[in-house]
């Protein structure tokens, strides 16, 4: 027996190449399978990054990247000295804070509630109903809100009036922009956000609950001691990813809500890029702002990841 085992190894001994080629040959199909994904990232994510150099040029479309003049940090300079810059940045960060504070916990709560439902058919129906809004475009949602919130016969103001209260100018007042924004986000996305949590909860071993019940744990205790700890890592991963998107607040949504009266609080980096940059064909300036935004996002992700590791969780990498 021993001889038989030794034998094939000796035959293979004269290797054809280094360790890498050998491993490559052995796992060839795995590499083939990963290739499309790899190509996707190279072609659509990494290659376009070369275009970032126009942030340091006075890019003229007709001259191309080669022919355009280099201007160094001029565009960044302009951005940071723009009188509105601080205002726009803080608007963006505040809106992000609202997102994190008010929107992020809601799918978790919803998922917990759905998870506690006994009747499966009702659970499924409810789940479908709350994630349907996700498929509606912002244009529709904002238009519906307009009709409901307008001071000229909108139902919300009509109800307020009925109760003898003052009409509220939801659409135009700076104070109401953020609540309107966040409520619309919650309405559209909360249901959709529950899906991942529900999947994580489905993976929890039912024996844990049984054991807990034997020990006399109530429903709330089961949630607190079993469900939440079990989905903790999922929550943290999603939180880090969310933080990475710190400045992706949905251009379309904010742009639709933006008007002359609430610009002081509603102008965010994305809308500024559109009005001051793209609409006027200033590609270099727009790219510079975009780059700035990405850098902030990167810094946030790295620090959030570090932080989560410090507290003993896994993080995303």
């Amino acid at each position: 027996m021993r001889e038989v085992i030794v034998h094939p190894e000796q035959v293979q001994a004269p290797r054809t190449g280094s360790g890498i080629t050998r491993r490559l040959r052995r796992n060839i199909w795995l590499y083939v399978m990963v290739l499309p994904g790899l190509l996707y990232f190279l072609i659509f994510k990494y290659a376009p990054m070369f275009g970032l150099i126009i942030a340091f040029q006075d890019f003229k479309p007709f001259k191309g990247i080669k022919g355009s003049e280099w201007v160094g940090f001029e565009h960044f300079n302009r951005l940071f000295t723009e009188p509105d810059f601080l205002n726009i940045l803080s608007n963006t960060l505040i809106l992000f804070g609202f997102n994190l504070l008010f929107y992020f916990p809601i799918p978790i709560v919803l998922a917990l509630m759905l998870n506690e439902l006994r009747m499966n058919s009702f659970k499924r129906l409810f789940q479908t109903l709350i994630y349907l809004p996700h498929f509606m475009s912002w244009v529709i949602i904002v238009s519906i809100s307009y009709v409901m919130l307008t001071m000229d016969g909108g139902i919300v103001n009509a109800v307020l009036e009925q109760f003898g209260l003052e009409k509220i100018n939801f659409l135009l007042s700076p104070e109401w922009f953020r609540p309107t924004y966040i409520l619309q986000v919650i309405w559209r996305e909360a249901g959709w956000g529950t899906i991942i949590y529900l999947a994580a909860m489905a993976a929890i071993d039912p024996q844990l609950y049984e054991a807990a019940r034997m020990d006399g744990a109530g429903r709330v205790q089961q949630i607190w001691h079993i469900t939440l700890p079990a989905i903790r890592s999922v929550i943290i991963v999603l939180l880090i990813l969310k933080i990475g998107d710190v400045l992706e607040l949905g251009f379309e949504h904010v742009y639709l809500l933006l008007n002359a009266m609430n610009r002081d609080v509603a102008e965010i980096i994305d809308t500024y890029v559109y009005t001051a940059g793209l609409k006027q064909g200033k590609f270099s300036y727009s790219t510079a702002i975009g780059l700035f935004k990405s850098v902030i996002g990167l810094v946030m992700v790295i620090s959030a990841n570090k932080l989560s590791k410090k507290f003993g969780s896994e993080g995303i990498y």
Binding site: P61, P83, M151, D152, A260, T275, K279, F283
Partner: protein, 519 residues
């Protein structure tokens, strides 16, 4: 991965073909509709060679233009134009809402076709950088070779010159179509006389709000329906009644922007007065044009200030909801000084440019210009603007009367209509024949308006700072104007915004405009 990819591909192909078939069946178009649109490429490169061997060979021209309707029109009109002009045309329509984006990115990739329409005057201002850089053919010296193009109005051509050189053909528009569209039945039932002054217009707006003009004993009407547009909405027109200059005006021999004039403030006060009285939609700063129109057509609002030619569509939808409604138009409003005034556009609303990237030499350019020369003959111009005689319009009293089927026009003709260069006087097409009394009045008012029109003295002038920052800076003033009307800031606050405008580059714009104005 592979399976998913295939499924995705299949899905795309299926939905694409569905879209195509849906389009062609909706449009009653010839069966080759989908095919024609799917093969727009190659033509740009092929045109010079293709037309060399025989003069009879049709010239291939690719045209990029904004689309103001929801659907790409079928080829009915295109085929007819091709026959008349011996060309093979490829139209690349892009939705007007996002046209600037499309234009900029296509320019960036060097993919503009032989004929490129811009979107409006503002787009033209932004394009000047590329024009100065020599991206487009200068056509000024060639115009005299084309008898019909040579008829284009020199005054308007002058307004479209860049540094004194002509690069574009213009799409003509009446100078001043601004005015009032109002509910005549309401005015009659309240016994109001036709307003002649601004104050009477404001009084009418208030009466429409307070005196229950629809007689249902409910306070459910308002006067003015306005939208989030200070220029083509009500504000600029009201301001011009107060004799506010059109964008720029002369003060002590020097050009100053309109918002530094006291008349501008008077106009803001008027708007504020209307809004404070609840005589207009209070949310107008957040109201889209669609919502504004539905306020009027649902019978809730009685006044619409803007382009008088909107009366046809407003009337059509209004009588669906309120069969007894009667609408009429009104202009020639007197300001507090007792004089009539209104603002005017520079005589064009869009221009066509000819990119050098797609037109290789002057020979090819002349072929394209020859097409536009033919467009300016009555027969071709009529087809482009009115459609096909008998199908889309009939001739009555030497004027074109469009068919009752408004949807047919919208679908088949509207997309091409806005691309016809020149105006009726120069391209020889029929004037419109109208039956709606309000529209007939509107046409008459438009002619009268020309006599009292306030022109923009900077229409043909140029300021580099304005081109660079003008639009962005204007936001300061626009926001301040709204805030003043809403009562959030007073004159002091408004003046602060003007100071800010000056500080951030406005002073430079004033300086630059004045430097070229003196010459």
């Amino acid at each position: 991965m592979n399976k998913k990819g295939f499924a995705f591909l299949l899905g795309t192909v299926m939905s694409l073909s569905m879209v195509l078939t849906a389009c062609s069946s909706n449009n009653n178009s010839p069966a080759n509709n989908g095919g024609n649109q799917a093969t727009p490429t190659t033509s740009t490169e092929a045109s010079p060679e293709a037309s060399e061997p025989a003069a009879e060979e049709p010239t291939e021209i690719t045209i990029m233009l904004p689309l103001n309707v929801a659907q790409t029109p079928p080829d009915t009109i295109k085929n007819e134009i091709e026959k008349l002009t011996n060309t093979k045309l490829t139209y690349q329509f892009f939705p007007a809402d996002t046209y600037e984006d499309k234009l900029n990115t296509t320019l960036a990739t060097g993919g503009l076709p032989q004929v490129t329409y811009l979107k409006n005057q503002a787009t033209f201002v932004q394009m000047k950088g590329a024009i100065r850089d020599g991206q487009f053919w200068e056509i000024g010296p060639l115009l005299s070779e084309f008898p019909n193009l040579n008829k284009l109005k020199p005054l308007i051509l002058n307004n479209t010159k860049v540094d004194g050189k002509l690069y574009s053909l213009y799409i003509g528009r009446p100078l001043a179509r601004q005015g009032i569209i109002y509910r005549k039945d309401w005015a009659d039932s309240l016994g109001l006389k036709t307003p002649e002054t601004v104050d009477e217009v404001i009084a009418m707006a208030k009466a429409f709000t307070e005196q229950d003009p629809d007689g249902d004993k409910k306070a459910n009407t308002i006067g003015l329906a306005d939208r989030n547009d200070l220029v083509y909405g009500a504000f600029k027109t009201i301001a011009s009644w107060y004799a506010t200059p059109n964008n720029w005006g002369e003060k002590d021999g020097k050009l100053e922007p309109d918002f530094t004039f006291p008349q501008y403030t008077a106009a803001m006060d008027a708007m504020k007065q209307i809004r404070d009285a609840g005589a207009m939609n209070k949310d107008f700063a957040a109201t889209s044009k669609t919502d504004q129109i539905s306020l009027f057509t649902s019978g809730k609002a009685g006044l619409y200030i803007g382009s008088m030619s909107d009366i046809d569509s407003l009337n059509k939808d209004l009588i669906k909801n309120v069969p007894t409604a009667v609408v009429d138009t009104l202009a020639l409003i007197k300001g507090p000084n007792g004089e009539q005034a209104t603002w005017a556009i520079p005589g064009y609303n869009n221009v066509v440019l000819f990119p050098k990237s797609a037109i290789k030499d002057e020979e090819a350019l002349k072929k394209v210009l020859a097409f536009y020369d033919k467009l300016m003959t009555p027969e071709v111009a009529n087809t482009m603007f009115w459609g096909i005689e008998g199908t889309h319009y009939t001739v009555e009293e030497g004027k074109a009367k469009v068919t009752e089927d408004g949807d047919l026009i919208e679908r088949e003709v509207k997309g091409f209509k806005d691309s016809l260069i020149g105006e009726a006087e120069t391209n020889g097409m029929y004037e419109g024949f109208y039956t709606l009394p309000g529209r007939i009045n509107a046409e008459a008012f438009t002619k009268e308006n020309e006599k009292i029109a306030i022109m923009d003295p900077t229409a043909a002038l140029d300021s580099p700072t304005y081109t660079e920052k003008g639009v962005e800076l204007q936001t300061l003033i626009t926001d301040a104007t709204y805030k003043y009307i809403y009562g959030e800031i007073d004159k002091v606050g408004f003046d602060k915004a003007v100071e800010e405008w000056k500080k951030r580059g406005g002073d430079k714009i004033i300086e630059e405009f004045n430097a070229v104005y003196k010459k």
